[in-house]
């Protein structure tokens, strides 16, 4: 299923720890790669995990109800990346 700005994700259970401004994320399984999310990604992760749509996640990160289209595009790309890496699936 294609992920776009209106999509919501089901984020799979993962361990998350804050490291300064970044988030360190690991999926269950000792061989799974550990991701370090930085920039706007921690905010997007948090909002998507809480059930927000991709656009709403971008709004939450921007703190603006009309976020920059580039940020929305980046949020879509981030959400697709999460799906591609098996960390989430479209709902």
């Amino acid at each position: 299923m294609l992920v776009d700005a209106t999509s919501c994700l089901r984020v799979h259970p993962a361990a998350v720890r804050r490291l300064g401004e970044d988030l360190v994320v690991a999926r269950p399984g000792p061989e799974q790669p550990v991701l370090r999310l930085s920039g706007s990604a921690p905010g997007l992760w948090t909002a998507l995990s809480a059930g927000a749509s991709v656009r709403d996640a971008a709004i939450a990160v921007a703190g603006d109800p009309a976020p920059d289209p580039e940020l929305v595009a980046a949020a879509v790309a981030f959400a697709r990346d999460l799906v591609a890496q098996g960390l989430a699936e479209p709902r």
Binding site: A15, R17, V24, P28
Partner: protein, 372 residues
């Protein structure tokens, strides 16, 4: 009891400890103390002090600290992720999770303040083999064989298993090595435990009074009061377990298990080293007339002297004694090959008996010296 660690490290270990009166935190000199900070498990506190501009760090130390924090965060998050995978197995075997993940999420203000390097679980002895088999199904291997069948479930304080990826799980049969762990009532710990969330994992954890006795045993017996983060754990859990009836339950538990002096030593260390303000019931007990001064022998003693082995023999059932004797005198060939290398079996046993005799003589001699 007087404080044993340098004041700057004690001050760092008491970072934002509610109600504490630690020594003043010096701004400088942390470059020279960095190794000690890491050794004591205090890197997150140094980062906290630095971001709040309470300490100064040169660029090289900042980089070292950043690398250390990242390494700790990566390992911690991998272990927490592993808990998600292992939670059903742990539940099935009635195992409780001790220390690291539970304290990080439920005893400290921020999980990032309490990194950990392995998972500690406590399991009732009759379920030990089932849990070890389950962990083997999840890819874990034992780095060393048991000296004899039943050793893990009857004698060893804990059995370490390692995943090929490097993750470690420490499966505890009891809470402390030697006599200190002999009267610990594991069934009572399991019976009073409850489920808690550790990130996305839901696992069983001891009730706080039991957990306080556990962290006190770890600090006093396991670490010999030498590691400040263990002492900080005691202060942190005491704040949760020490009030009102919980505090009384903690003291009663320590009394039943015959480990009051270790609880007292750990609590005194929290007061002396960190300036911790312990809850009233614990303070009343600690400084009341019933408590003798802390025995200096609480500090790390040789773990394997003859006296401790004798005390280990005195506690526990006949099968346990038999297992212990067999582990010393007639371990399995697999264990002997692991210990001494590939040799003819007779040579391996001769080597073992020689070692046992030398150790017994050495114990006798050191006991004589101690007695003189």
């Amino acid at each position: 009891m007087s404080a044993a660690h340098p004041p700057p490290l004690r001050a760092l270990a008491a970072t934002e400890l509610t109600g504490a009166h630690p020594p003043a935190l010096p701004a400088g000199g942390w470059e020279d103390r960095f190794d000690a900070v890491v050794h004591h498990g205090l890197a997150p506190f140094l980062a906290r002090a630095w971001t709040r501009e309470r300490v100064e760090l040169d660029e090289a130390t900042q980089s070292q600290l950043e690398r250390r924090l990242e390494a700790e965060a990566v390992l911690t998050v991998r272990l927490e992720a592993e808990l998600i995978r292992l939670a059903p197995l742990l539940d099935r075997c009635d195992a409780v999770v001790l220390k690291g993940p539970v304290l990080a999420h439920h005893a400290y203000p921020d999980p990032a303040w309490r990194p950990f390097s392995d998972l500690d679980v406590l399991v009732p002895a009759p379920r030990m083999d089932e849990l070890l088999d389950g962990l083997a199904d999840h890819g874990y291997r034992r780095p060393r064989p048991d000296p004899t069948p039943g050793f893990a479930s009857r004698v060893a304080k804990a059995t370490v298993v390692r995943h090929p990826s490097g993750l470690l799980v420490d499966v505890h049969r009891t809470l402390a090595a030697g006599p200190a762990g002999a009267r610990v009532d594991v069934d009572a710990i399991i019976g009073a435990s409850g489920h808690v969330d550790v990130g996305c994992a839901r696992v069983r954890a001891p009730a706080w009074p039991h957990h306080l006795v556990q962290v006190a045993l770890h600090a006093a017996v396991g670490d010999g009061l030498s590691r400040l983060r263990s002492i900080r754990d005691v202060a942190q859990v005491a704040a949760l377990a020490g009030e009102g009836s919980s505090g009384e339950a903690t003291i009663a538990t320590a009394r039943r298990w015959g480990v009051e002096r270790y609880l007292a030593a750990a609590l005194r260390a929290a007061e002396a080293e960190l300036g911790a303000a312990l809850p009233a019931p614990l303070v009343g007990w600690l400084h009341g007339p019933a408590r003798a001064p802390v025995d200096a022998r609480t500090r790390r003693a040789p773990a394997r002297d003859a006296l401790s082995r004798l005390q280990r023999l005195r506690h526990g059932g006949a099968r346990r004694h038999l297992t212990l004797v067999r582990a010393a005198l007639a371990p399995t060939p697999e264990f002997l090959r692991w210990r001494y290398g590939a040799q003819p079996l007779l040579a391996l046993y001769q080597r073992r008996w020689h070692d046992v005799r030398i150790r017994a003589l050495s114990d006798r001699s050191s006991n004589g010296t101690r007695g003189s």
